[in-house]
Symmetry: C2
Amino acid sequence: MTDVAKRAGVSATTVSRVINHYGYLSQKTIDKVHKAMEELNYQPNSMARSLQGKDTQLIGLIFPTVSHPFFGELASKMETKLFEKGYKTILCDSANNKEKERDYLKMLAANKVDGIIAGAHNLGIPEYENVGLPIISFDRHLAEGIPIVSSDSYQGGRLATEQLYQRGGRKIAILTGTNESDSPTNKRLEGYLSVLKEHQLEPMVYHFPLEHSPFLKATEIRQILSKEDIDSIFCTDDLTAILVLNKAQELGINIPGDLKVIGYDGTEFIQNYFPQLSTILQPIDQFVDLLIDLLMKRINNADVELDSLYQLPVRFMQGQTS
Amino acid sequence: MTDVAKRAGVSATTVSRVINHYGYLSQKTIDKVHKAMEELNYQPNSMARSLQGKDTQLIGLIFPTVSHPFFGELASKMETKLFEKGYKTILCDSANNKEKERDYLKMLAANKVDGIIAGAHNLGIPEYENVGLPIISFDRHLAEGIPIVSSDSYQGGRLATEQLYQRGGRKIAILTGTNESDSPTNKRLEGYLSVLKEHQLEPMVYHFPLEHSPFLKATEIRQILSKEDIDSIFCTDDLTAILVLNKAQELGINIPGDLKVIGYDGTEFIQNYFPQLSTILQPIDQFVDLLIDLLMKRINNADVELDSLYQLPVRFMQGQTS
């Protein structure tokens, strides 16, 4: 394909687009590419595509891991909806493995999938810059021109913190990830900080690196609960909130009397099996619809104008922990 | 392909094997198929395969849903290990949708994946009988000749029930699925019954259909806990055990004083976030290794002799609920 591109004087992406009838192309470009293909006797895999027929269209899904309830739920719903649209889903669990994510991306980009939805947490993956495929990002900045679907994390952070304040919280801590990642989720921390500032309260910020095991995290949480003077905790994900509840119970701390806790995500799993947890609900069904609608737009027309960021609203779910 | 098979006087599976150089075939059969392909001017998609190269080998994974922690964990680990072996994973969430599972199977069987690992719960899917692809089943009878990887569910059921008995349980109930499915998991119930019989205790068996929502299940569990005289409950999955704990707390039932509870599965998720739950640990890492090793054997040699059932041992994990 590189040879065809060179001979036709166009980019490999353009050759790929001609072969796959994807994106806007001038007739002149199409003719140049076809001529170069003939001269080089280049056989694209369009025969494979036509043999496969519509029912083998593939979409790549790059998420940290489906063993996490949030991403498991998102992946399950994406797969179901993509299947209804005639697509099959190739799963990539990228968890904490940048090389794996890069490898996947290269494979997916090598003309074998119709598009990618990526919501992984690894940083510094230059392949996203020039992958030459329709991509929509979930909740993370990947590269210029790749739209991001997210929820309003700043508002979510404000909502949780404001709730804790209204219920009497004055020593309000936040447990969150490390903020090196260029992700809209950092806005949850910003929302928290803005509410504390309005009420002239002192922020207490605890960062947990993504790669920490739940066991290590739980140990650190136990230390924080034993040593620090805290009456409320906002956790920027529900699983961390569960660790807080477990350790509070071990230490005999009364919830919500001595300590109020609010989580974040509100998956169906949490609603079904931890209904007691107060949390911020992310709109998972709406994420799924929007991610797939945008990807389909890009697949049908590579040059369609899309916003750079789509922010869906979140809401607070009152449980018994706040 | 059916026409080629007819003309060559062989099965479609044999044609598929010739095209894909897969399984043992006599030279005579290979020649017959090649001749029929020539006469019919049949173009197999082998060119597509060679264009794709090794890095596009695909394995289909058919599980109920990755939004369930057990299958999410299994799928995540399978995907990771398959990737290391140069395979990509096509995900199929078959949850409660027999038609979807059949559609997937047809698509996967149409010569586009190298093999399938299936652990879904739908019944009566005749496509498994003649799919003509290497398949390994997880914990479910699919068809003659498809090996099953499972854990020792009978022993698991005995282990849980014996633990409850030893801790003083004399009114021991079991909460399990409906036993219409031809699945080794039904053996958990058999193990429970065998222990009760040995101790001359009366069984109390509650079946919950798979399609019941967690909310409905929780409502029914609340009724059982309020009305029935029960001192111990064995749940054949951990999520049901969590519903029991939630409802017991609502009703002010002391755990484990008034009621002992043991679950089943023991995922890393449960170990990390519900360490208080006593449960039977299934060997998920060993499942993953064995499923993939067996599938690779079948892919490399379609006629390799495999056992019909592989049963891995389970063990009891003592928490604070029993």
